[in-house]
């Protein structure tokens, strides 16, 4: 403190130790190789996207074709993610800042979240293909938009909640120092929202992959659309019953998820640690080998040295207080809001017209189907809970085990379960399990990981002193579970249930209506109703089933999950 600082180093972005690390040339070679590969890949992508419209591309099932297909799918997923991010920032910010608009925007988000991808498909595909009748780009955009609908909603919720819950003192400081709207967003609200947004982004990417097979290969009535990609590859492999190709596709998907996790998400999560607000110690130091490598690269150091002073050099114009800026923002918001209401009104009117032919008995039938699917969702959740709670506790209570298993579960959870369905369906076929029950198993494959993941997280968060108490008083195992483990894990369990049930509803459209070796199996349920209506292009029935699904999901969320969540927050939180 006594030494005067003569020079001040620029604050490093990647962490404080960056300046002292030895540089390694082979990393630079690797980075250049990756960049060259990307340039080549993007050129190919551009060719593919701007090519002449080919609704049904011939899929090559040889493993040699897989890297290119995987790259196409990855590109679609990333473009969709960028769209999701843009949508999230715009929509979430608007909802957080305009109280009146949020009264419509947030319930709307709730409804949109409850509609599975097939609900958006006909409209998006028909509109985008009609918009670009001669080019592949319309179809590509449709596919990206479908992936987008699987990604975006929880990111938007997370960002909205973060902006709304910026700590009062930080908000006041920003006001006091006359931050403009933009500065407030950039220096306060975005940093505060970053960590939540990143965790939700990881989940969102997984959500986007879930329907990859549908997003790349879809049937609309007599029209069959297929784009080159991993999802189409799998679809064709399943249709032809080519087991070898299916295994290759699963391996490629797994490889892609692991690469994304290690080279994109993990470094970002580690970097984002600087946005932590709570100061309670160094909560489990996070590391990423890939980030460490990047830090040791000459190229990255050079790029950063060039970028940062440039970004700083531009002086902001002197700011005058602008009393009109607030009024202008309010006017813009009102205008956009009016537009939104008009669009929603038009949409509602169209929907009513579309639903007109639906008779009372149709509705009753759909409600019955919805009840059947709800029952399956709940049974899947219960079964998922029964095995994951003991296993999750065992893993979470052992620091060594949880350090190894937790990242693995995270990766497994983001693997799109529908790619494993063919194998399970074959198994059901052989053992004679009817699809009515079998679909529960299919749902479970996709969703149980969310529960497991949360139970592990909850178990690791049990404070040491409470665990010591249970040892000091020599509680028996069952007594410990009842008095400590279950209550402590409960809030996490609720989060897991909500995610898992949402996933199960989503999965129902592929679990209750399956095609295998050319044959189609269907069982009584709302998911099957949605799928068959979409496949036959019966839009009235599709709309009606989606309305029933949205109503059941939203009502169940409000009545059951939200109450459980409040109970968990109120009674069982360990945060206070």
């Amino acid at each position: 403190m006594s030494q005067p600082a003569t020079t001040v180093r620029r604050p490093p972005v990647w962490g404080r130790a960056a300046g002292f690390v030895e540089r390694a040339p082979w990393i630079d070679a690797f980075i250049m190789l990756v960049i060259a590969g990307l340039v080549f890949g993007i050129a190919g992508l551009a060719r593919e996207w701007t090519g002449v419209l080919r609704p049904t591309v011939e899929i090559d099932l040889s493993p040699a074709a897989l890297p290119a297909y995987t790259f196409y799918s990855l590109a679609r997923g990333l473009v969709a993610f960028l769209l999701s991010l843009g949508f999230t920032l715009g929509y979430g910010y608007w909802a957080a800042k305009d109280r009146r608009a949020s009264r419509v925007l947030i319930p709307l988000l709730d409804v949109l979240q409850s509609i599975p991808v097939l609900g958006f498909m006909p409209g998006l595909v028909l509109a985008l293909v009609a918009l670009f009748p001669r080019s592949n780009i319309g179809l590509e955009l449709a596919s990206i938009a479908l992936i987008f609908t699987g990604q975006v909603w929880n990111m938007t919720f997370s960002f909205y909640h973060s902006v709304r819950s910026v700590p009062a003192d930080l908000a006041e400081a920003a006001t006091m120092f006359r931050f403009s709207r933009w500065e407030r967003l950039r220096r306060v609200e975005l940093p505060f929202a970053t960590i939540g947004l990143i965790w939700n982004s990881m989940m969102s990417m997984a959500g986007g992959w879930f329907f990859l097979m549908i997003s790349e290969a879809f049937v609309l009535g007599d029209k069959d659309f297929r784009l080159p990609g991993l999802g189409s590859y799998m679809t064709v492999a399943v249709a032809r019953g080519d087991v070898g190709a299916m295994i290759w596709a699963i391996a490629a998907m797994a490889a892609m998820i692991i690469v994304l996790d290690q080279m994109l998400w993990r470094p970002i999560v580690v970097w984002a640690q600087k946005f932590r607000v709570d100061e309670s110690g160094q909560a489990a130091e996070m590391r990423s080998w890939f980030l460490d490598l990047l830090v040791r690269s000459h190229l990255v150091a050079w790029a950063r040295a060039r970028r940062r002073p440039h970004a700083r050099r531009r002086p902001a114009p002197p700011r005058r207080p602008r009393p009109s800026s607030h009024a202008r923002a309010a006017r813009v918001s009102t205008l956009v809001f009016a537009g939104l209401i008009a669009v929603l009104g038009l949409g509602a009117w169209k929907l009513v017209r579309l639903l007109e032919p639906t008779t009372i008995s149709d509705w009753l039938d759909l409600i019955g189907a919805g009840t059947a699917t709800l029952a399956r969702v709940l049974i899947a959740t219960v079964i998922g809970t029964l095995w994951t709670v003991p296993v999750g506790l065992a893993i979470g209570l052992s620091p060594r085990l949880s350090r190894i298993v937790q990242p693995v579960v995270q990766v497994v959870a983001s693997f799109p379960a529908p790619m494993l369905f063919p194998a399970l369906i074959a198994l059901m076929h052989v053992s004679g399990i009817p699809l009515g029950w079998g679909s529960i198993m299919l749902m479970l494959v996709g969703t149980q990981w969310y529960i497991l993941f949360n139970v592990i997280a909850g178990a690791t968060a049990i404070p040491a002193d409470l665990r010591e108490v249970s040892s000091v008083f020599r509680m028996r195992r069952w007594e410990r579970v009842r008095a400590l483990y279950l209550p402590a894990v409960f809030p996490y369990l609720v989060t897991g249930w909500i995610t898992a049930a949402g996933g199960a509803w989503n999965a129902s459209i592929v679990a209750e209506h399956v095609s295998f070796r050319g044959a189609t199996w269907s069982t009584y349920g709302l998911g099957a109703a949605v799928s068959s209506a979409a496949a036959d292009a019966r839009f009235a029935r599709l709309a009606a089933s989606l309305v029933v699904m949205a109503v059941i999901v939203v009502v169940f969320n409000r009545v059951v999950w939200r109450r459980l969540h409040e109970l968990a927050e109120h009674r069982y939180t360990l945060m206070r």
């Binding site: 403190m1 006594s2 030494q3 005067p4 600082a5 001040v8 180093r9 604050p11 404080r16 003192d169 930080l170 006041e172 400081a173 006001t175 006091m176 120092f177 006359r178 931050f179 403009s180 500065e183 220096r187 306060v188 940093p191 970053t194 600087k274 946005f275 932590r276 607000v277 100061e279 700083r312 050099r313 002086p315 902001a316 114009p317 002197p318 700011r319 207080p321 009393p323």
Partner: protein
């Protein structure tokens, strides 16, 4: 007198409550801040002193009255103010230097000048060497140095501090106070004046030229005490002690009246103090010959005087103590209470509670119900109707706490019902 830097005239502030009438936080407050002075706003928590500071800074808009800066109506944030927050309010994702630059950037100066100004204030408050530390790496005292540096970086005419030393230990606070006064006493440079909120009487007498003493319910200026003690001030001088004493008298005169509210037919406001604090006060007095000075107790027990006065008033309402002048004296009932065993204490406590209007009313309501229970909402409504000036949530909390200690009523939080024991 010189022209005021900023002032409020007949300012009032109210906050709407979900139920019942709006809560009056400030009423008819007028105060001017002049160049070159240190003004302290002193009072127990909830007296509106922080609200007044925020109104002067332009962070809050009063429901009535004028706010003026250099004799012009104030619109938006007060341009002459640098603000220091009790909770530091540093952006955790920025280094010390970045925190300062973020505050300076809205001025629109070139980057090199921003850097130079930031570095200047960093050395001014003794943070040299910590430029690249993140707030979470700093101790509370160092964090508040950053908070002070950030406020000073704007070269403000006035430095506003909201309980700036409340979250640091006593030794650190001492150092920070001296440093702030050093910076202020450079007569030719800003800040010209300091306005600080505090509940620490010693601190206020040490720092301020004028001490604005607040009264509660609703918050108002009770009196303004001029402090002409020469600087630097010696905490052990007789003049210092006399001034501290004078302020003690002012506060007890208003907050601890010699003729207190006694249980009667009407509703008495419940001072917000927990039963265990009241019992602990009785034990404390019993162990010290049955009497002590209220400020002595506050400093011995490391409590904010406002909090302690609430405990004393609560004990007095229950007839456990008397408060002649500044002294707290164990009453005969208090002495019996101190000597009694647990069951007898509870019985005494119950009897005293039932002499209070609110408890009696609820007991009668419960007796009328065949189920021997009433809705919590009924009690809340009763509080809102009878005591519109109180924060009803707080009163309700105190009610439940006292009733539980005396084993008088049980409160079921989930069902929101109050039942007889």
């Amino acid at each position: 007198m010189t022209e005021a830097l900023c002032e409020v005239r007949h300012v009032a502030q109210q906050f709407p409550q979900p139920r019942g009438p709006a809560l009056r936080v400030l009423e008819d407050v007028s105060l001017a801040i002049h160049p070159g002075e240190v003004v302290a706003l002193l009072g127990p928590s909830g007296c509106g002193k922080s609200t007044l500071l925020r109104i002067l800074a332009g962070l809050a808009t009063p429901t009535a009255g004028d706010v003026r800066y250099h004799d012009q109506p104030l619109r938006g944030i007060n341009p002459g103010v640098g603000f220091v927050f009790q909770s530091f309010a540093l952006f955790p994702w920025m280094t010390v230097l970045e925190n300062l630059e973020a505050a300076l950037r809205p001025l629109g100066a070139p980057a090199a000048e921003l850097r130079a100004r930031a570095l200047r204030v960093i050395s001014m408050v003794g943070l040299t060497g910590f430029e690249e530390a993140y707030p979470r790496e700093l101790s509370g005292g160092m964090k508040q140095r950053v908070g002070i540096a950030r406020a000073l970086s704007l070269d403000p005419e006035m430095l506003f501090m909201d309980e700036p030393f409340g979250q640091v230990d006593a030794l650190t606070a001492e150092g920070l106070r001296a440093q702030v006064l050093d910076i202020w006493s450079e007569a030719e440079t800003n800040p010209s004046s300091i306005v600080m909120v505090s509940h620490d009487i010693q601190e206020v007498v040490n720092m301020a030229d004028r001490i604005v003493v607040f009264g509660t319910k609703p918050g108002h200026i009770r009196t303004i005490v001029e402090n002409t003690l020469p600087r630097p001030r010696d905490d052990r001088s007789s003049g210092f002690a006399r001034l501290v004493d004078k302020i003690h008298d002012i506060i007890t005169g208003s907050e601890m009246p010699d003729t207190p509210a006694r249980p009667g037919p009407s509703f008495e406001p419940l001072p917000s103090a927990s039963a265990s604090d009241i019992v602990n006060l009785v034990e404390y007095l019993a162990a010290r010959g049955g009497r002590d000075d209220v400020f002595q107790i506050a400093s011995d027990t490391d409590r904010e005087f406002g909090e302690l006065i609430a405990v004393v008033n609560a004990a007095e309402l229950l007839e456990l103590v008397d408060t002649p002048h500044r002294m707290v004296v164990l009453a005969p009932l208090g002495r019996r209470f101190a000597e009694a065993d647990e069951p007898e204490r509870k019985a005494l406590w119950r009897r005293q509670l039932l002499r209070l209007g609110l408890f009696r009313r609820v007991a009668e309501a419960i007796a009328r119900q065949p189920s021997r229970r009433v809705d919590a909402d009924l009690v809340l409504e009763t509080i809102i109707m009878a005591l519109p000036q109180e924060r009803y949530e707080q009163t309700f909390e105190t009610f439940v706490n006292w009733a539980r200690y005396g084993d008088l009523f049980a409160y079921d939080e989930t069902a929101r019902t109050i039942a007889a024991q």
